[in-house]
């Protein structure tokens, strides 16, 4: 029984993973087949090509954030502060739905006012299957990937995951 969290090969029927202590109860035969048969999903996120994350301060204007996104052909910027690190994300969807449709000014609105707070994050050593799941269930198109210190090492996009699955 392979632990879905750390990959440790445990004795069949174990309740807890011998390596990381994760609860293995209830994982049936199918799950074992899944991790064995689908090597791609068992891969770690940092084995896939990550895109460089654009970051801005909370006080940045929406107009400036949009200019940065246009320049770098990116669909989102991550909002970071010195003390707290990653605090939010502002996407091209937010630009349309929270700024333009509501007739707010691009120059007078700050990203902090219209960003989505506390975006869902994963770490480089997490498995691709979790990224696919969050994307499929919640519709996240960009997942910030953090290192152990909580610093952004890159972003994983839906298209990258799909490309990896299709080319495997």
């Amino acid at each position: 029984m392979e632990c879905p969290s750390c990959g440790e090969d445990n004795i069949q029927g174990e309740d807890l993973c011998a390596s990381c202590g994760m609860d293995l109860a209830g994982l049936d035969v199918r799950s074992r087949e899944l991790s064995r048969e689908d090597p791609l999903l068992a891969r770690k996120i940092d084995e896939l090509p990550l895109k460089k994350a654009l970051t801005v301060a909370p006080t940045t204007s929406v107009g400036e954030a949009a200019r940065l996104m246009r320049e770098h052909h990116e669909g989102c910027v991550f909002v970071v502060t010195e003390g707290e690190g990653l605090v939010g994300v502002f996407t091209e969807r937010d630009l349309a739905s929270r700024v333009l449709v509501r007739d707010r000014s691009l120059d007078e609105t700050t990203v902090a006012e219209v960003m989505t707070r506390d975006p869902y994050t994963l770490r480089g050593e997490d498995r691709v299957v979790f990224a696919l799941h969050r994307m499929g269930v919640d519709g996240y198109r960009h997942l910030p990937i953090l290192d152990a210190e909580g610093k952004i090492i890159g972003i994983l996009t839906m298209r990258t995951v799909l490309a990896a699955l299709a080319s495997a």
Binding site: G75, T91, S97, V129, R141
Partner: protein, 163 residues
């Protein structure tokens, strides 16, 4: 459902097996203002511009809006006057609904798009395929109990509505 390789699923499944793929659509005479409201309300990331025979002639995506946001086209007054046909991307990248998911993903990557306009054999609009539809379909094929486990012990899931 028996465990299958995602790779085979992508090669063997066809776009039409994904079920309804809603495509918000507007005629080219619509204003950019109307298009923006449709875009936001539709929550599909794009709207398709069609002729009277329902043939796709253009597409307006959230990315197109981002790229226009630096120009005067998006000022409050101007977007109530400017027509959709003046700002849409054309021609739209289409895919036949009998194409495989593999062909769809390849087409998306080749064009660096997240949306494909789905058409039938006559070239009429049948839907809008997004990367989100593909990840949702693939996620649905897997045993939930495996995937619902947190990636690390004691991790709390936070649920914002975006990104």
């Amino acid at each position: 459902m028996a465990a299958v390789l995602l790779h085979d699923l992508i090669r063997d499944s066809r776009v039409l097996e994904l079920g309804p793929l809603p495509a918000p659509r507007l005629p080219p005479e619509a204003t950019l203002h109307q298009a923006l409201q449709f875009l936001v309300r539709g929550r599909r990331g794009a709207i398709v511009v069609v002729d009277p025979e329902l043939r796709p002639i253009g597409i307006l995506t959230e990315r197109d809006v981002l790229h226009r946001s630096g120009s005067d086209d998006l000022t409050r007054e101007r977007r109530r006057k400017i027509r959709l046909e003046a700002v849409m991307s054309k021609p739209p990248v289409c895919i036949e609904r009998r194409a495989t998911l593999h062909q769809a993903i390849e087409t998306m990557n080749r064009n660096r798009h997240r949306h494909l306009v789905v058409v039938d054999g006559e070239g009429r609009l049948r839907g809008l395929l997004t990367t989100n539809d593909l990840t949702q379909f693939l996620t649905d094929q897997y045993p939930q109990q495996v995937i619902n486990l947190p990636p690390r012990l004691h991790q709390q899931f936070r649920r914002p509505d975006g990104a």
